[in-house]
Symmetry: C2
């Protein structure tokens, strides 16, 4: 296995920002053929309901069911998956679930209101979503941690019914995933997947009631279906390739940093791991660690492909410059592997999750630290947030005018409405002005 | 002018829920030709920057500028629009802005963190968006209230730079809109509009720096452009036709309720106004008021078209049933014109804004009560919220593990990562487990 060389940039070079732009570029063009196929599946499910879902499931997942009820897994099946787990795994899942729940509890938003001097009440009422769909990928890549991260915030928000869908190719299910569903109290589980499952959740069928929101990761068909049903239902973000940016002052064991980069790169060949350091010789040391450790990795080929095509080392002259670069990248995961991470964190404005200090490996956050691992990718941390309880709650404005309040507000509204030539608005307000 | 008859439904009829479904149905199909034209404009602006923006602006808005700087309005121009307002309008705008700001201040989300027994710190850091674009329609329909409602929450959130775009056909601008921009402290204003303005805001040009989010209403080209740049930037909701649902116990002056329905219907022919009452004779009385008042309205033809094609009266036997129907509709605006609106409000789970009591005309909320008038339409209140300060803030998760915390968490993460066959994750966590 030949050594790999990581792309190097220097933030003090005149061409740096263009190079950085090129490094981050990733083609997100929609595949029109997939788009058309998914549109057809959605239309079919809307027209033919259960029958369409059954047909696609039998065809794509090599099943032979005749009704939706055969796709549902009973609570007993989930419970027995949980009971069958090795103790060590059960305890680890339980610990992770407890910590994710404890953190999520801090995110709940609460209703509020205030009363003005004239008795008018203004406020905001918080309600949970009625019903939520959770997509979980099936087949080889089975991620029980994803069940925890998506389901627990919904449950903490008070979502009435949480419906999980997971494809079961040839009828095969993953016990860890079912155990996780049992642990977090998913209300119903159906072994279906693909665009047909997304369409069934969004529009409902004879058997399935439509949900208000669909969350969870999936392949390109699932992601495309989620985009296309958005508006009918809410969706979480459409995730791009996973990314990590590590800022290191050169004093963390280079093996640790190499492995942190691997932990991102092993996800897939398009994943991106970038290390920024003030110390050029440290970048050399991490490269040596990479080449030393790479042959020992199970997913060496994926890691190699990711690091050689999308990985990078960036040399900066000061940590302040590292923060500037981090804010441009707006990374999904940001490790601050430095002596004083609090100080550096003050300079960070855009990141999905910030892992502070040499001991805070990103992998701890992926599983059990508490914060969610569903994070904004592809620089969308400039305007969006980790998945959280707030994604399963919504707000309604409350206005309750006293007679005196309506009198005062009516006069102002009347002037403004007439300025916009909306005279029905004006007259509606004027009716509430006192006439005596 | 002939009398109009409002469609009547009875919630106790066996076919009611299908009828309600048909009443609410609205074709939201994308227009593919517009989609293609907008895609081409966006591609052109991305490739040719300022030049493309100038070309489209000259062509579509009948301008003759040679550089972007000619499209910018100086703070002095905005200030002079404000100074030129009649006192009554200036005071009304000031009152509205003050109330919108006071309400918005309650919406700010704050950073938090907590420390666990072993010294590990978990938290959530809140930051404002760096730069936001505010689209304001130009031409005849000039809505200064829209400038207030979109700009003030952004300012309260602490957005660094707020850039407003407003088309100026033939170079003409609306003084009320410019005055509102001055009042709320918009940072820069450019007289440009359409898909080209949205593209310039999203991707930037030689002159314009890209924004993180674009908000504000626009025509079908603007709405399509916003959909297409979503992901590159955040956007607010794509609004459907405006709607009001009124629940009345039959004891509010029927003229008031008729005018409240008009205030929705005058927006456009697709706007939807629905009245639910427990009292069939009250529905007759409101219909009489409608026919009495309609000939006196400036926008009578629009109101007539809206009420005859999309308006409805729904008779229910109990207010509890009215709440059930309201939760199915999930209306943008909900008036509870009843004796005890607080009790009825308890039953409401899905609505953009709730106007409680006979004095709370929806028009008061449109202009100056305080809550935002940008609200979820087309039943999206099932999963989304009014525009608010929180739409201009975002969250970053914080994790700072102590050495002891990393030791404990590392063991759990290792087990879970190995369960998912992600061994680089596992080894990254294991490095942080104490070895002594």
């Amino acid at each position: 296995m030949s050594d790999i060389t990581i792309t190097r940039l220097d933030a003090s070079s005149t061409d740096f920002f263009r190079q950085l732009h090129d490094l981050l570029a990733f083609d997100k063009t929609d595949n029109l053929e997939i788009h058309q196929r998914v549109l057809a599946i959605i239309a079919d499910v809307r027209s033919n309901g259960d029958k369409a879902v059954i047909d696609y499931t039998n065809r794509f997942d090599h099943r032979s069911v005749t009704q939706i009820s055969e796709l549902e897994l009973s609570p007993e099946i989930l419970k027995s998956a949980w009971n069958g787990l090795p103790t060590e795994q059960a305890q680890a899942l339980q610990t992770a679930a407890d910590r994710i729940r404890a953190y999520a509890e801090h995110q709940k938003i609460e209703s509020w209101q205030y009363t003005e001097a004239d008795g008018t009440v203004l406020g905001q009422k918080i309600t949970p979503l009625d019903r939520v769909g959770l997509y979980v990928p099936g087949g080889k890549a089975a991620y029980p941690s994803s069940v925890l991260m998506n389901a627990i915030p919904a449950k903490v928000a008070g979502v009435g019914e949480l419906i999980m869908v997971v494809p079961a190719p040839h009828g095969e299910t993953n016990q860890l995933v079912l155990a996780a569903a049992s642990l977090v109290g998913v209300d119903r589980v159906f072994t279906m997947g693909g665009a047909q499952a997304v369409a069934a959740l969004a529009y409902g069928t004879e058997t399935l009631r439509p949900v208000a929101k669909i969350v969870g990761p999936g392949n390109i068909y699932v992601a495309t279906a989620k985009k296309l049903v958005f508006g009918q239902v809410g969706i979480d973000m459409i995730a791009g390739p996973s990314e990590i940016l590590i800022i290191c002052d050169g004093k963390t064991n280079p093996d640790w940093i190499a492995m942190d980069m691997f932990s991102q790169a092993e996800h897939d060949e398009n994943a991106q791991a970038i290390l920024i350091s003030t110390d050029a010789s440290y970048l050399d040391a991490v490269e040596q660690s990479i080449n030393k450790l790479l042959p020992t990795m199970e997913r060496a080929e994926i890691i190699r492909a990711s690091l050689t095509t999308r990985g990078a080392f960036i040399k900066v002259n000061h940590l302040e410059i590292a923060a500037v670069v981090a804010n441009i990248i707006a990374p999904e995961h940001l490790e601050l592997s430095v002596e004083d991470p609090e100080a550096l964190c003050e300079e960070i404005h855009h990141a999905g999750a910030i892992f502070m200090g040499r001991y805070t490996a990103e992998a701890l956050g992926d599983y059990c630290a508490g914060p969610n691992h569903v994070l904004p990718t592809s620089s969308t941390a400039r305007f969006s947030s980790p998945l959280g309880v707030y994604d399963f709650q919504k707000r309604s404005s409350l206005i309750n005018c006293s007679q005196a309040g309506a009198d005062t507000l009516g006069k102002t509204a009347s002037i403004l409405a007439r300025g916009e030539s909306l005279t029905a608005h004006a007259r509606s307000a004027e009716y509430r002005i006192k006439t005596d």
